[in-house]
């Protein structure tokens, strides 16, 4: 079986890693990372893990650092139940001081109570549901990336600006998809130009959407708005084509990943998507991050939220360097984050631990890449989205 050599290598690596660690004189401090390492969105999880790992490695390589850091990685599988389990495991381990946690909103919203119960400081690195920071006022929970409210405002604005009149909504029925549906509908209604002609909830692991799409076809909308993650986004877009639906496809931050374009090939062209924060290459530390990341030769790219995972982990390490490996002190220090420099720009936590990310990047897929809308040939009028006025 081809697994054997990999296992042997893995075990050898572990043994070596421990041996190397033992030789060092600095105090060891554990930090945590949680993300989806298996399942449909695992690329994003792996990208986030690598990015957080990068932060730890760079710190350990820095002779000025006071501690030797070890990152404990757990897999939430993008499932709320598993997330609660692993969050309990991480938070219950007193040796782990703080964690960068969750890409999926479903898992992040399910675990906030757990972190609060155990007094475990976390910085969310990818989940966008507002409720994660705003439903409760937990001192333990922070977030470096923005929420989905702003991106849906920007989304509705662009859709209206392009002169579209009718929108059909497909969203997954998790809190994540429902949240997108809610905020997008509100934003669209506020502008009052386009109206929603139908809303369809689908499960996050559905394979066949021809039935829903046939119904949508009968409604003949200008745009199909999709609130969900990459795997079903790819399926819906390709099945739209099968049924000859010509509407524009308008997604959310959940599909901003290389996997979306890989999964669709030429069909991805003209897909709209929105994300908080500037694109990696335009971030203040974007170049630095990309250089260091590629130097480590990870198997996967960092994906859209890698820089946030790096920033979250880096902030945790900074804080521990400053106040020492003590959860309570870390929480106290994170309460006063203001204009803190990071590779994703200045970070400021409000009273709910939410970083205010003013920038929303509008993306459109052009020639197999997520291109910023304003730089694209679609915006300049050289190309046209389906039905664009």
């Amino acid at each position: 079986m081809s697994t054997t050599p990999k296992f042997a290598a893995l075990i050898a690596a572990l043994v070596l890693g421990v041996a190397a660690g033992a030789a060092d004189a600095k105090d060891k401090v554990k930090v945590g990372f949680i993300g989806p390492l298996t399942g449909g969105v695992s690329v994003n999880g792996l990208g986030g893990r690598n990015s957080a790992d990068l932060a730890v490695r760079l710190r350990n390589a820095d002779p000025k650092s006071k501690y030797e850091y070890e990152m404990v990685v757990l897999d939430d599988e993008c499932k709320p139940n598993v997330a609660v389990q692993v969050a309990t495991k991480m938070a219950a381990d007193k040796d782990i001081i703080a964690g960068a946690t969750h890409y999926c909103s479903v898992t992040a919203i399910a675990t906030v109570d757990t972190y609060h119960k155990f007094g475990f400081p976390v910085i969310v690195w990818g989940a966008v549901l507002p409720d994660i920071t705003y439903r409760n006022k937990y001192d333990e929970v922070h977030r470096v990336n923005g929420t989905m409210i702003n991106q849906n405002d920007a989304n509705a604005e662009l859709v209206s600006k392009l002169g579209y009149k009718t929108v059909a909504v497909i969203h997954d029925t998790t809190d994540y998809g429902k949240g997108h549906n809610e905020y997008f509908s509100k934003a669209l209604a506020k502008i009052g130009q386009a109206k929603i002609v139908g809303t369809f909830g689908v499960t996050a692991d559905q394979q066949d959407f021809t039935a829903e799409l046939t119904k949508i076809k009968a409604l003949n909308p200008d745009v199909i708005y999709f609130g969900g993650l990459t795997p079903i986004g790819v399926r819906i877009r390709s099945q739209m084509d099968k049924l000859g639906i010509k509407a524009a496809f308008d997604g959310t931050s959940g599909i901003v990943s290389d996997a979306y374009i890989q999964g669709l090939g030429p069909l991805a062209e003209g897909t709209l998507a929105f994300r908080e924060g500037a694109p990696t290459e335009k971030l203040p530390g974007g170049k630095f991050f990309m250089e260091k990341y590629s130097a480590q030769k990870y198997d996967n790219p960092p994906e859209a939220y890698g820089p946030f995972a790096y920033a979250a982990m880096d902030m945790i390490l900074d804080t521990i360097e400053k106040v020492g490996p003590d959860r309570k002190k870390v929480i106290a220090d994170l309460a006063n984050v203001k204009d803190r420099d990071s590779i994703v720009g200045k970070i400021t936590f409000d009273d709910h631990g939410q970083n205010t990310v003013p920038v929303i990047t509008k993306y459109v897929v052009q020639d197999g890449k997520f291109v910023e809308w304003d730089d694209s040939e679609y915006a300049s009028g050289k190309r046209k989205l389906p039905g664009q006025k």
Binding site: V202, D205, P231, G244
Partner: protein, 306 residues
């Protein structure tokens, strides 16, 4: 409802039904010869689809560019590879467990399914991502009102029908088919008649697994996207289809497959509040059918040994 729309629903249902039926036929074949449920069947389908995709990528690197040639090579590679995999599974996992309770076979093949699925995810390059599957069939389409009739769908349906007819012919009109049916009916008598039992079992598993590979390629061509999880759902649905049709009957499996797809489609059209309930509806009907016809729609001819 608009006639075009209705035709679109029927087409969707037929395509789904064809895939379910192909999977269900595999279950029925295995059950026929060995009285076992091979639950890794759905994941064999996944591996078949990925084998086809890998050979496509290989051909592309060689610089071949003919759609038809590529399709033929992909099908041959996938079907042969899965046939061998099927034989290996039968030889090393299923047959050694013949004396153990039937549930053990079910569990071991289920675990094998997990191994296959996880292997695709971990060892196929970027296997965790959904993969684009090339659209190799001609993409011409005619718009008939609300109905978008596509040539590739018609071709796939035709191919599916041909394969099923072929299997039927093989089972009923050839010597090999006779041997398979003999083994299915009574292993010991078949042995005494000079039929090589092991060989027939292996051939049957090869046949069924080849069918799964075919269904996998078809699934890829239809959705233009494959991922490591496609087989799990198709496997369960195919199994249910084989059962409601009546295990051991190839007609039953086909009937079951199309029935299940029909139920799902009807569920979507008829349930006004939420199409999401379509699976709840379909499975509830499955349970009701089992209560009504405990051995499936086409009854298995069994005589209880007392």
């Amino acid at each position: 409802m608009d006639a075009g729309l209705l035709a679109q629903y029927v087409m969707n249902g037929l395509m789904l039904g064809m895939m379910y039926a192909l999977v269900a036929v595999g279950f029925t074949l295995f059950f026929g010869v060995l009285d076992v449920i091979k639950f890794s069947h759905g994941d064999v389908l996944t591996v078949g689809a990925f084998a086809a995709l890998a050979s496509y990528v290989g051909l592309r690197m060689l610089g071949l560019n003919s759609n038809w040639l590529e399709l033929v090579v992909m099908l041959v590679v996938a079907i042969l590879a899965m046939a061998f995999l099927g034989m290996a599974i039968a030889r090393y996992l299923v047959m050694p467990l013949r004396s153990a309770p039937a549930l053990n076979t079910l569990l071991i093949t289920l675990m094998l399914g997990t191994v296959l699925r996880e292997s695709v995810r971990l060892f196929y390059p970027q296997g965790a991502n959904p993969k684009p599957f090339p659209a190799l069939l001609p993409r011409a389409s005619i718009d008939l009102g609300e109905f978008n009739l596509r040539l590739d769908n018609v071709l796939m349906l035709t191919a599916g029908v041909l394969v099923i007819v072929g299997i039927q012919y093989l089972l009923n009109r050839t010597k090999l088919g006779l041997a398979i049916r003999a083994v299915a009916q009574d292993e010991e008598t078949a042995r005494t008649m000079g039929i090589n039992f092991t060989a027939i079992v292996l051939v049957t598993f090869a046949l069924g697994s080849g069918l799964a590979a075919f269904a996998g390629v078809m699934n890829g061509l239809y959705y233009n996207e494959i991922n490591f999880g496609i087989g799990l759902y198709l496997g369960v649905v195919g199994f249910s289809a084989a059962i409601i049709g009546g295990l051991g009957s190839i007609y039953g499996a086909i009937l079951g497959g199309f029935l299940f797809a029909g139920l799902q489609t009807i569920g979507t059209v008829m349930l006004p509040f939420a199409s999401a309930y379509k699976d709840v509806f379909a499975f509830a009907v499955v349970i009701a059918i089992m209560a009504w016809r405990p051995t499936g729609l086409i009854r298995e001819k069994i005589s209880e040994r007392v």
